[in-house]
Symmetry: C2
């Protein structure tokens, strides 16, 4: 690496988007690395994460967290190595994850570290994917909220995605049939042949409602949703009595101003005595250890299949969110920080 | 009573409605009482119930149960006295409830009896209200699904209604603040002054969203919904993190063909990590005894306030469902069978 390790290369939110942020909303800059104060550490990023939630972070619609101010480093999850530290719990050489932002050298408080990565036998990029937020999101959304039982049928609306592909595998490990909905023949083949789904429905082809009815003859007992659009509307028509729906994301809606309309769900929930629940993996933070240990064990045993799509260099970051929303990635989307 | 006790006076579904059934959809007739076969009993109805669910029972939209066939006795809950019996568990003189229909003399199998009314010290009409389906609906929807804790705020969308007025009282017994939404100044006064709500909002007057925000400054932790319309849309904007929504009915929607649109709820559920759950009291059937014992105890102690609106005679039945949907009743709507 010929890069100066005294410079913090950053991706800044340059302009507030409405809807999906593109390259025009970001700018690159370089600043001196901020020396760590008492209790602080400097993390040299190795990988940045690209997540659907990032769209929400730059918009002003109601969200979990305040929007990223224009002019600030783009909020993002990252994994990297501690290169300088005033925190005894995070010595130099440790691998840590956290919301360190799209910057090469993040100077952060110890409390900003989400996790000290202990499974050093596995690739560190996994700490942003199957052993990171994607993993725990799939784990708690599927195992806790959809809670499939053997013989039940679950549908995952982004079945070939970074979270959805895990959710399907967790459902199948519980003995359920898993049906993926994905965009395009390639992703459907990936869902079936690589991620082990029992069936995959291409929402870009033909009648999704009819395909769902055919794939779920006894109805849908669990639905792990990342879309909140026409796919969900079709799934709601197929619910079984007692169905559980985990709302993980709303990727099918590009803009919440004005608030979009859709078929009212209440009567489906009433007639089927079904439950729809939004969740945020961070609400389960104190149980992350349990989830990550289980997922790492599955990964080591070869029972957890995953794909990564790695973009090279920080110049790839500004276009990465739009790429994710266009469905152009082929696995968990990461940026390798040069 | 000058009525012949050999005649079964019935209210028949004469024509299938779309939407709310009115007098034009029913007809009265008289038939000989059917003698009870082995294991059967004859119930002489004393009160018939008028419930929001009856609209669904005569429409062909997806529902819990198949629609009432045209020409059949209207499906309805009733309470009455056993006058002839081949069922040892239900001797003559017993008071029983069940889905006996709008007929004066129902000849039914023992299995069709929902409950043998044991609290003979209380008025038997209560078996159709606070000690019947209304009571258990409020009990399980509020105590189990909304599950309010002390200091939380719950909203009940038909706060002065037969179920809603109980739901509010159950919430207050748990230490929560209870806010009613009701139609008109009279019902709001009833909610506050008789049923003990901390606040009541008249949805026919002014800005419901603003009134909700003012009445629920810390957000809505529990929402017991009977409407599924603009009131619910306004409540969704005020959810607190971790909110629980019980879907009990959809009275604001008069017709589900075509399926109505509304603001998509998923993002509210996601951002607030909230849960929306449809329920049907009968799914808790094996726990009815627990609920009714608790409610009867509250009623005897004077801690349970209720109102009944009793229509006299079977001729009142055909117009009663429309009356209920027009909000013209002043308490649990019943028909006293002459």
């Amino acid at each position: 690496m010929a890069r100066s390790e005294n410079e913090n290369r950053r991706v800044i939110l340059a302009k507030r988007p409405t809807g999906i942020p593109g390259p025009e909303h970001f700018a690159l800059d370089t600043q001196a690395v901020t020396p760590p104060g008492p209790g602080q550490l400097v993390v040299r990023a190795r990988y940045w994460s690209v997540d659907p939630a990032m769209r929400g972070w730059v918009n002003t619609a109601p969200n979990y967290s305040p929007p990223v101010p224009v002019g600030d480093v783009m909020r993002a999850f990252a994994v990297g190595e501690v290169v300088e530290s005033n925190s005894p719990a995070h010595p130099a050489g440790a691998i840590v994850t956290g919301l360190f932002g799209w910057q090469s050298h993040a100077t952060v408080d110890a409390a900003q570290v989400d996790r000290l990565v202990e499974e050093r036998d596995l690739p560190i990029s996994l700490a942003l994917g199957v052993l990171g937020l994607n993993g725990v999101t799939a784990y708690f959304g599927m195992a806790e909220i959809c809670a499939p039982k053997a013989g039940e049928t679950v549908v995952v609306s982004t079945g070939a995605g970074a979270v959805g592909s895990l959710a399907g595998q967790i459902a199948r490990q519980a003995g359920a049939r898993a049906v993926a909905v994905a965009g395009g023949a390639e992703k459907c083949a990936l869902a079936r042949e690589v991620f082990g789904y029992d069936a995959a429905i291409d929402y870009r082809e033909g009648d999704v409602a009819a395909a769902l009815a055919a794939a779920c003859p006894d109805g849908v007992d669990g639905y792990f949703d990342n879309t909140c659009g026409p796919i969900s509307d079709a799934v709601m028509e197929q619910l079984a009595v007692g169905a559980r729906i985990a709302i993980c994301g709303t990727a099918a809606i590009s803009d919440w101003t004005p608030w979009p309309q859709g078929p009212r769900v209440q009567r489906h929930l009433l007639v089927k005595r079904a439950r729809m629940q939004g969740f945020l993996a961070f609400d389960y933070r104190e149980r992350f250890g349990e989830a990550i240990a289980a997922l790492a064990e599955s990964a080591r045993a070869g029972r957890l299949v995953y794909r990564e799509h790695v973009l090279a260099g920080i110049e790839a970051a500004p276009g990465a969110i739009a790429m994710l929303y266009a469905g152009e990635n082929r696995g968990k989307l990461l940026i390798e920080v040069d």
